[in-house]
Homo-oligomer: 347 residues x 2
DNA sequence: GTGAAAGCGCTAACAT
DNA sequence: ATGTTAGCGCTTTCAC
């Protein structure tokens, strides 16, 4: 008895434009025209076709369309993962904007193929999507080079240190960090610890620079011990806080390069029985949803995350529709959000 | 001067199997065989092909493969949105498991097309993906009927009240609710408020039933006033808590049908200056990441969210590979996670 | 074991 | 305004 061997064929009971054409009594290219938005179709014919299609339950086969040279109306998103608020907020913005334009989203998460990103990007560009949004904050590879001949539409989020003139969206990282630091200084803090982000990223270096500039501007000498390395993750924030809090001359405030790190700092502080903000002030960056959930609620620098996603989509559509135009880079404003995690230093 | 009209053609500088075939000196069907995993290809030939492909930077065009009847190795996920921990945790599990099998994810969020879900599902099933995971907790439409002739592989998450025998994954909702309620009772609570979930969903009714069963089992009379309607959202939890806290005989504990609601309850309690758990105990359901972020940390019933996602993928693959086998339904265990939001009643 | 050829469902010239 | 035709890149018989 032969073993049942699984059929590799797809279910093929789908109705195609040929079926619709027959039912409507037109050629199948007319059907194609109707559904691909071609203007010059006789109104009567169009109605007949649409009616037939509805009756038969026709839905376009996107891969066929895409193969034949049309648009798939799918946009790809390359992201490290979906596991933090920073990303999901941006994705949410992307999603909203895409919906506005009747587009769909194809999601690729890279964390699973560390090191293979370039290949990944190539595959995507070679495939179904009309364009690609790159949200790859934790990856150093220069994806852009992998994009075939640069003529595949893409847009970068929060990655502006690349040499090429790519379309990109980001926020005023320097200014945001400057504002946060200034706020702490105005509260009376002089020893302000700083935990960096993942320094391969422009956002991280910009925030570091903003912090330093604010100190300098207020004539507070820079103490190198007060700057520790982080990685934009909670664990890194926790580790950084440990170093900072072990210092002989402990800082009275800590500025974490993002909220995830700030939450790690809060954990470390809580663990030592330090009161926030009584014993130590903590400030973050991003304003992810969790920032207003933690106790005390985190004072932070808001990035318009959702809007960043929306803008990314718009920029991408610009690239797709008018590739001859120059790439734009848009930088959105950050804003200090004062909540309960900062206070004047004790004593 | 004629206006530049944007080319609608896709970038077509990609290398195809024809190129590889030429370079390797074989017919292009041989190349196809090599890359589609056909066994009986001469080892030498295979090597030559692979080498040529690598040199040229060949990557398969998925839509072409899919069109021609092969698999796309893409799985579709239909979800309401990405805006809460419940979903992102599950997606994370899906993502991990997919990666294990070399599959990609195509994400559809439905919240944008309220009411059009059935059409949506049909489009997807007709298209690129090899199978579909339905994570549609906030939607009542019977998606399944939209799946062409039922022979398109799909799996349901947390939706078991459908009549058909669909493959599905869920958790022990009844038992979890029973355990949570019993825990509160053991702490000494007698007046336990309950905020329901979105009652169109089986998970919500099961949790309600579990709550009631526990009361009954401990001979605590059911007070209908103590059960208020919710919708699995934070706002609903907040509103429900208001009703409960306005009661003449206020409950000493509130069991929210999920953590999102519980967070709403906490907000309401905080707002009234009630201490948690001193003045009121609060318990949730799900154990989303935020549950351990709020203050005080939320006692809750853990669903193995990540695992649910993983299992969903495995079930789907079973459907794809062995459609002749019966659909399985797997129910994972919940577990009470005791943190700081519950205590014996005051006085 | 490998080549030749048909066709998946569609778009886009090119005709008319 | 509509029909005809040639592919898009691939899988899959069917030959040899």
């Amino acid at each position: 008895m032969a073993t049942a061997r699984p059929s590799r064929r797809k279910v093929s009971n789908s109705v195609t434009i040929v079926d619709v054409a027959k039912a409507a009594g037109v050629s199948y290219s007319t059907v194609s025209r109707v559904f691909s938005g071609y203007e010059f179709v006789n109104e009567e014919t169009r109605e007949r076709v649409v009616e037939a299609a509805n009756k038969l339950g026709y839905v376009v086969n996107l891969q066929a369309r895409s193969l034949a040279g049309g648009r798939s109306n799918i946009v790809g998103l390359l992201a490290p993962g979906l596991d933090n608020g920073y990303i999901t907020e941006i994705v949410s913005g992307i999603d909203q904007e895409l919906a506005q334009h009747g587009l769909d989203l194809m999601l690729y998460t890279t964390h699973r193929y560390p090191g293979k990103e370039a290949f990944y990007v190539k595959t995507i560009a070679n495939g179904l999507v009309d364009g690609l949004i790159l949200l790859v904050p934790l990856v150093t590879t220069n994806y852009i080079q992998a994009l075939p001949r640069q003529d595949f539409p893409y847009v970068l989020i929060d990655q502006t240190n690349s040499t090429s003139n790519s379309p990109s969206v980001d926020a005023t990282n320097w200014q945001g960090a400057y504002d946060a630091t200034t706020y702490l200084i105005k509260l009376g803090h002089r020893r302000i610890g700083f935990i960096t982000g993942y320094l391969e990223l422009s956002s991280a270096t910009e925030r570091l620079d903003g912090y330093r500039a604010a100190l300098q501007h207020h004539r507070i000498p820079l103490d190198e011990n007060l700057t520790v390395m982080g990685d934009y993750l909670t664990t890194g924030g926790y580790a950084g806080a440990q170093k900072l809090l072990n210092l002989a001359e402990r800082p009275s405030a800590i500025f974490a390069s993002n909220d995830l790190e700030a939450i790690g700092v809060m954990n470390a502080a809580h663990q030592r029985g330090l009161r926030i903000p009584g014993d130590i002030s903590i400030i973050g960056f991003d304003d992810i949803p969790q920032a207003s959930l933690v106790y005390p609620r985190l004072t932070t620098v808001r990035q318009p995350l959702v809007q960043i996603g929306q803008v990314a989509v718009r920029l991408l559509l610009e690239r797709i529709d008018t590739p001859e135009k120059d790439a734009r880079r848009v930088t959105l404003s950050t804003e200090l959000v004062i909540r309960e995690s900062c206070a004047p230093p004790a004593g």
